[in-house]
């Protein structure tokens, strides 16, 4: 349903965008900028998977495979691996297309599956793809991966290892993504996705083609991962198969659930929160506890890796207190709370 944004929503959005645009100027710490930039690729992954899981309701546990495909596509044609050096910018689109193609290829066999069954099959794909990259050493460098991936340049300015330009590339790409996705959400296709999520049989009886609708979800979802893979590979300049394992898929999914399934703002907050926790805050906290342990001569504290303990505890707490996610689309909230909730006042026709 099309609703015009209210003035305060526009003002709030503008403030958030301005804050992100000014961040590298305010905080000149390269480490911080780099961590927030890394949240960028994570956010793109979250948005892509949100199409598949949040909009279309297809539980995909192997989403990192498309991230790997995007990253390897770029790394193979823009490094010393084969001594070809394709330009970064067109590769953004090309890798997205390659990933979308694999989205269709891997999506097609799963079309008849739902829920748990779909999750298991996609989990399998998620495991297969990094294995393939691991074992095709001739093309992918095997376990060592591909190094010296080309860094982009724009109008003669070489990005190098400076995090700032990558940071801005992510901002532009994410802003565009949000606009495209919110347009899609309130469209023929967006409603078809949701209809399939709610009741596939009823949706097909309304003329929704389940095959193309689901494949479009897989393809569009994968294309975000393909795009993210290119920027990721160019910023890190080094990729290897173990960066695309199951835990990546699960973390992306966690961000969606944490933020609120199907909500674009929720996906942003959930994604940013998990990315910053993982890339910036928790490593820092772990350093502090190590230092603390050393200071009080307690080996247990000095050597404990609290990163994932704290991370896990946060996930558990959020899910306990807000099972629908931080910012949920209202429908999810109803779904999860309707067991407790009294019959809605809706029947009275109050709007």
């Amino acid at each position: 349903m099309t609703q015009r944004p209210k003035p305060w929503q526009i003002a709030g959005l503008a403030a958030v965008v301005a804050l992100f645009l000014l961040f590298p100027v305010i905080d000149r710490n390269q480490g911080h900028i780099s961590a927030v930039a890394d949240a960028g690729y994570f956010l793109l992954l979250v948005y892509g998977l949100n199409i598949v899981v949040g909009f279309a309701g297809l539980l995909d546990l192997g989403y990192a495979a498309f991230f790997a495909i995007g990253a390897y596509t770029y790394a193979m044609v823009a490094s010393s691996q084969f001594n070809v050096h394709f330009n970064f910018w067109p590769m953004l689109g090309l890798s997205a297309c390659v990933a979308a193609l694999f989205g269709v290829i891997l999506g097609a066999p799963t079309l008849r599956l739902r829920g748990d069954y779909l999750a298991i099959v996609t989990l399998g794909f998620g495991e297969i793809v990094p294995q393939v990259f691991l074992n095709l050493d001739k093309y992918t460098g095997g376990p060592n991966g591909i190094s010296n991936v080309d860094q982009p340049s724009l109008f003669g300015y070489h990005f190098g290892f400076n995090a700032v330009p990558y940071y801005y590339v992510y901002i532009v790409v994410i802003l565009i993504s949000i606009v495209l996705l919110s347009n899609l959400k309130n469209s023929r296709l967006g409603r078809a996705w949701m209809a399939i999520r709610e009741d596939e049989l009823a949706a097909t009886h309304m003329g929704v083609n389940p095959v193309t609708t689901k494949l479009l979800a897989f393809a569009m979802g994968a294309s975000f991962a393909g795009l993210a893979g290119v920027i990721y590979a160019s910023k890190l300049t080094l990729i290897s198969p173990d960066e695309f394992n199951f835990s990546v898929s699960v973390t992306i999914l966690s961000a969606i659930v944490l933020g609120g399934m199907g909500s674009l703002i929720g996906a942003f907050i959930g994604g940013l929160m998990l990315a910053l926790l993982n890339f910036m805050i928790l490593p820092q906290v772990t350093n502090w506890t190590h230092a603390l342990g050393a200071a009080i001569h307690n080996d247990a504290i000095a050597n404990a890796d609290l990163h994932y303990i704290i991370y896990g505890a946060i996930l558990v707490l959020v899910m306990l207190f807000r099972p629908e996610g931080l910012i949920s689309s209202a429908s999810r909230r109803a779904e999860l709370h309707h067991a407790q909730a009294a019959p809605s006042a809706a029947a009275a026709g109050v709007e």
Partner: protein, 253 residues
């Protein structure tokens, strides 16, 4: 003129024959009732026509073209829309969105148009919203357009399902027990709604349990029992047919 022509339709599930050699026609512009006791195979007829099941034998022709082997979405695109016996709305979409989904087959915007909000997509989206509102008004649900479908009371959900199907501009509307669970007053309203749908030029085939109810509005009645058609004709004739009375009340009644 026959809009829907079913001939020799048989559907077997393993050893069970759910439909046996059923033939019936639905004339354009009419209201046709399909009645029969529980388990007679009425819903199976709908499920075969709309492509959930492929028939084991027989033919289904909709305005001259065969529907056998068509997927449900193709059947909908051809102009045959339906409602479900156990209401199947998109529970966590708004009332308005539900109707807009119904408009799916009459929309042309590509994903590309939609993502970029091209003038064409914006225009279409506006027209669809307007059309959906019009239909909500027609079924008397205008006040609830922003509620989730699941929050509506039962009777309203039935009407929403009808509005959703109408959004596709069907030529044939299949209503599967629209009056189930309704009280007598609601049933009367519903039958008025069915008649006004016919006045919009939509042919209607409805399944109903309640004989009295269908007699008032149907132009023609087909009766199924144990998967076989046992009788057809004008309501008045069917009502007094001994086979029908026996099917409903049992032997010797």
């Amino acid at each position: 003129m026959a809009l829907l022509e079913i001939a020799g339709l048989t559907k077997r599930f393993g050893g069970l024959t759910a439909l046996k050699d059923v033939s019936l026609t639905v004339d354009a512009g009419s209201i046709v009732a399909l009645i029969g006791p529980n388990g007679a195979g009425k819903s199976t007829v709908f499920n075969v026509v709309t492509g959930i099941y492929t028939p084991s034998a027989g033919s289904i022709a909709f305005s001259g073209a065969s529907l056998v082997g068509s997927k449900p979405n193709a059947v909908a695109a051809a102009g045959v829309l339906r409602t479900f016996q156990n209401i199947r709305l998109f529970a966590f979409m708004t009332v308005l969105e539900n109707v807009m989904v119904g408009r799916h087959v009459r929309m042309h915007a590509t994903p590309f148009d939609a993502a970029l909000r091209t003038p064409r997509a914006v225009r279409e989206e506006r027209a669809v919203t307007e059309r959906a509102r019009e239909l909500l008004e027609f079924v008397g649900l205008s006040a609830y357009e922003r509620e989730w479908a699941r929050n509506l009371p039962y009777g309203m959900q039935r009407r929403l399902e009808i509005a959703r199907a109408l959004a596709a501009e069907p030529r044939l509307l299949l209503l599967d027990e629209p009056g189930a669970g309704a009280n007598p007053a609601e049933k009367r309203e519903l039958m008025q709604l069915v008649q006004s749908i016919r006045q919009r030029g939509v042919t209607i085939m409805l399944i109903e349990h309640d004989m009295k109810l269908v007699m008032g509005i149907s132009d023609y009645v087909h009766v199924l029992d144990y998967g076989e058609k046992i009788c057809e004709g004008l309501p008045e004739r069917v009502r007094h047919d001994p086979r029908v009375i026996e099917a409903y009340l049992g032997k010797g009644a």
